[in-house]
Amino acid sequence: MAARVLSSGAFSFARIKPKNVWRTFWRYRWLYLIMLPTLVYFAIFKYGPLWNAQIAFKDFKPLLGVLGSPWVGFEHFKTFINSFYFADLIRNTLIFSLAKLMLGLPIAVICALALHETWFLRFRTFVQTMIYLPHFLSWVIMFGVLLVLLSPGNGLINEIIEKLGGEPIAFLTSPGSFRWVVILSDIWKETGWSTILYLAALLAISPDLYEAAAVDGATPIQRMWFISLPGLLPVIVLVTLLRLGHILEAGFNQIFVLYSVPVYSVGDILDTWVYRQGVLNFQFSLATAVGFFKGVIGLVLILVANRVAKRVARQSIY
């Protein structure tokens, strides 16, 4: 939808005579009036930051203000791209979002297929209720849950490791395991919720297909493989494209809660770096430049993803 709207911004009534234009506007005056507070809100809180974003191209000094600070062109972008942390940040960001996508999506599809196939409908509803729940919990609560499972002292998983004769592992603070904790905890939290879309798509598949398959003597596995999975394919493609459009969103809240100095090298992503440089180290312009860089790439990816989605699935993402 986005792309469609962007390409046709012109007024639909441009050919009407000016006098009638005002009459039309006047007719809708109450509608504009009730929308006005929200539009003012957007101007201040959504476009205000866009105005401030110009400091990405300036050497921002709080005393000089956004307007008064001197222009420096693309200097901050050059500093960032030539810096030693550039590759690390991009790599960590991509590892997190790609791993969450590539591991999480098949698991979600399998869970949806299992939920769809089962004969025990009460049980199915109960499982659904439980696996949706973690989606609504904050990452702070998840941190508490993870400590109970992973802490080296009496975390459940470390107790199991010790019973099997192994050494306890400080999962959250050792660089070797931190990425897995991030990826798997995200899958634990979000997989259940993401089955909703696949379940809806499975319900939309015509029952005739399943009946025909049953008449032909198809096994349950064949039914899933030749009917359910092809029925899911458009949704899988759409979800993948949408997620690829947001590939630079690696999960700021999650990593902000879970990471600590020992795992910065494997856990730091663009967003956490922007927070530390901008808010904690007062490198406002550099941090804004990195945020701007991320925003531009995100914009391009979303528009491309939307295009491709229209081509492939004949559906628009937005």
Partner: protein, 292 residues
């Protein structure tokens, strides 16, 4: 679905049931562990750590009692309630009129407004420009700093717009013919019909504000304003680094129990409102909005 009980099908069903049971246990076991850790008496904890099963006769509510009688915890809970209620109210106040306006296809300039709204969804310059805006407006140590920047979700607006578009146009027309203006149409005709969507979107905003912890850390320095998730995070971090001295004053519960009790208390409101959310998203209100 066709249920032909051949031998293959039954074996397959057993396999599926085992898979779903494992799935369920993977969700339930971590929560069970949190509960056991929260209710374990100190003497058992110091002797043998946290057992997997603990008979409910041995459970103690000591950790909960200590948290709830502590000076900061009830205050933080109240702060969270204030942020959630105020945030949800402000969010709906801004979202509903916009969604209603955009649902009126015949309104001149609708596309311009739509573009104005969607652009902010497509491009975001990141954290720092927002941070400068909020600090520039002197909103630090003010709940509005947490509530206003995320107050309107474009996505929620589009879902609500889709709902309004589905309402019969004749209702609005007849009210207009009776001389009602758009505000009256919205308040007296549309909103009474829109309870499901208002509740759904309202709950989603409420969950968002209840869970919010990063912006409170960013904008609130006054510890009297701290909401529950931020306090919980401080307690959790203190456990891993042993430096949050204030909580060492607790003696009749282990720090582990206090942490888990804190997790449960912070989670509790979610459990109460969850059945309400569940009721509406199973109806497909939201799934329909995902792909327009």
């Amino acid at each position: 679905m066709l249920q032909t009980r051949t031998r293959d099908a039954v074996i397959f069903q057993i396999g599926i049931a085992i898979f779903l049971t494992i799935l369920l246990l993977m969700i339930l076991i971590p929560f069970w562990r949190v509960i056991v850790t929260a209710v374990i008496p100190l003497d058992i904890y110091t002797k043998e750590g946290v057992p997997f099963f603990l008979s409910p006769t041995k459970w103690t509510s000591e950790a909960f009692r200590q948290l709830l009688t502590h000076s900061m915890f009830p205050r933080a809970a109240l702060n969270s309630v204030i942020i959630t209620v105020l945030g949800t109210a402000i969010s709906l106040f801004f979202t509903v009129p916009l969604a209603y306006g955009l649902s009126t296809r015949s309104m001149p300039g609708r596309k311009v407004i739509m573009t104005f709204v969607l652009l902010t969804y497509l491009f975001s310059p990141g954290l720092i420009p927002v941070y400068l805006l909020i600090t520039g407006m002197k909103l630090t140590n003010n709940y509005l700093a947490i509530i206003l920047p995320p107050a309107v979700s474009v996505y929620n607006t589009l879902v609500m717009m889709g709902f309004f578009e589905g309402l019969p146009e004749e209702l609005k027309e007849s009210a207009r013919l009776d001389g009602a203006n758009e505000l009256q149409v919205l308040l007296h005709i549309i909103l009474p019909l829109s309870k499901p969507i208002l509740l759904t979107i309202g709950l989603f905003y409420a969950v968002f504000f209840w869970n919010e912890f990063f912006t409170p850390i960013l904008y609130l320095n006054d510890s009297n304003l701290t909401p529950l998730p931020v306090l919980l995070r401080n307690i959790l971090i203190s456990a891993s680094f042993n430096e949050y001295v204030e909580y060492n004053a607790f003696s009749s519960s282990s720090l582990e129990s206090l942490k888990s009790a804190g997790v449960i208390i912070t989670m509790l409101p979610m459990f109460f409102i969850y059945p309400w959310i569940q009721r509406y998203f199973t109806k497909g209100t939201l799934v329909g909005g995902v792909k327009e």
